[in-house]
Structures are given as structure tokens and as C-alpha cells.
Amino acid sequence: MSKRPRETANVGAGLWKATGMWAWLLFRISGLILVFYLGAHIVVISTSQWSEAGKTLNDLMKSFDHPVLVLLDLALVVAVLYHALNGVRVILMDFGVGVKSHKVVYWICMAVVVILFAVFAYVAFSFIATGKGVM
């Protein structure tokens, strides 16, 4: 251990170094993406009021079945899953769980992200390939 006091000693004994820093940055970026998506999502759903019997909404929903938009949707799922699972880790740390082993907890959370993403990716690619859902 160096004699120099750690510069980040006040933030959980260097919690935001290396892995933690990237975790924090991606958490912030995914959060910002989701803020803008939420705004867009509310506007899209409000098209229910834009024409009689939801015609505008139905036309919009049809256009979202395009492969490019399905893939964009899948990218959004990555942002949601990352933000959710890293958020779980942050809340656990607030309760004092996994503070010392935060890197291990982080990679366990990322494994969960990958597994859940695989489920959504399977459904999305099946839909792109067949035009049908899997259920």
C-alpha cells in the first residue's frame, strides 16, 4: 500500500476505480438513453388519441415490425437489462451487500444480463425470420 492517501478514499474506498468506473459510466449512458426513450414511448402511445379507433397507432405499430426497428428494440432491451441489473448491484451496496466484492457481484449481474438478453434475442430473431412470435 502506498503511503499517499487514496484520492478516492471518500467514495467507498475507491469503489469507482477501473470496473466500477465503467459500470458507472455505462449506467449513466443507459439511463440517459432510457429517459429519452420514455419520452418517445409516451408520445407513441398517445397516438391512440390522434385518430378515430387508433388508426395512427396501428399504422405506427405495423411500421415497428420492420427488422431494423426490431433490432433497435433489442438494443433498447440491452440498455434496460444493463441499467436494471447494475441498479440491483447499486441497491445491494446501499444495504452493505457486496461492497468489498463489488467486481464479482458486477460480473454475476452481467451474466444475468447476457442470459436474459439471449431470451429476448431469440424471440426477436425468430420474429424477423418468420414474422411470427414464439408463443
Binding site: 439511463g31 398517445s46 387508433g54 396501428n58 441497491i91
Partner: protein, 120 residues
């Protein structure tokens, strides 16, 4: 619970607490929302099927919780980010908070209006 986690949060204790409460609500309700819209209902979402889903009070509750908790969580998170940059002083932060409350309440009203054809 680590007390310093609360006191070190510049946004204030209530902001910290509600960010976590809404986070838990969002994880539960978003899981339901994503399973039904992106897995079960993929390619079949339109005015009719949304209406069928929202005929159940439970789904109305899920959507309204998503709208309210999501709007709070999103704008409070945005507030945290912005307070790290330009809104650094107490006075600027207050202006930002007030502006975001106006935006948030407007989004809530607009969101309820968007759902109205199905839930009224």
C-alpha cells in the same frame, strides 16, 4: 443500511429513497411489461390487443405504476446527471428541480390521456 449512502447523496434523502423505491417498482412492473409486449405479444400489438390487455385492472395498475414510477425515476436520474454539470449550485439545482417537476407532472397527465381510450 449504510447511513453514508444516504447523507452523501447530493440530491437529498427523499430523492435517494424514492429513486430506490421506484427502481424496485420498475424492475417488477417492467418485467411484466416486457414479457407481455416483447415476448408474448411481439408483432401483435395494436389498438385492439392493447385494449384486451388493459381490460384487466391488474394491467392498468402495471401501466400506471410504470408511467408514474418511470417518469419520476427518469427525471430524478436526469436531475442527478445535470447536477454534476451545469446545475451545480444550490440555486441552479432548485430551478432545475422545479422545472423537472413541471415536466414530470405534465408527462403524467399526458400519459394518462394517452391511455384513456383503453382505461376509461
Amino acid at each position: 443500511m449504510r447511513a453514508d449512502a444516504i447523507t452523501s447523496h447530493r440530491g437529498g434523502m427523499w430523492s435517494w429513497l424514492f429513486q430506490r423505491v421506484t427502481a424496485v417498482l420498475l424492475i417488477v412492473c417492467l418485467a411484466i411489461h416486457l414479457i407481455f409486449t416483447h415476448i408474448v405479444g411481439i408483432g401483435e400489438i395494436d389498438y385492439e390487443t392493447i385494449g384486451d390487455r388493459l381490460a384487466h385492472a391488474g394491467f392498468i395498475a402495471v401501466d400506471v405504476i410504470l408511467l408514474a414510477a418511470g417518469t419520476f425515476h427518469a427525471l430524478n436520474g436526469l436531475r442527478m446527471v445535470l447536477m454534476d454539470y451545469w446545475f451545480t449550485s444550490r440555486r441552479r439545482a432548485r430551478v432545475l428541480t422545479a422545472a423537472l417537476w413541471v415536466v414530470g407532472l405534465a408527462a403524467l397527465v399526458y400519459g394518462i390521456w394517452a391511455l384513456w381510450p383503453w382505461i376509461s
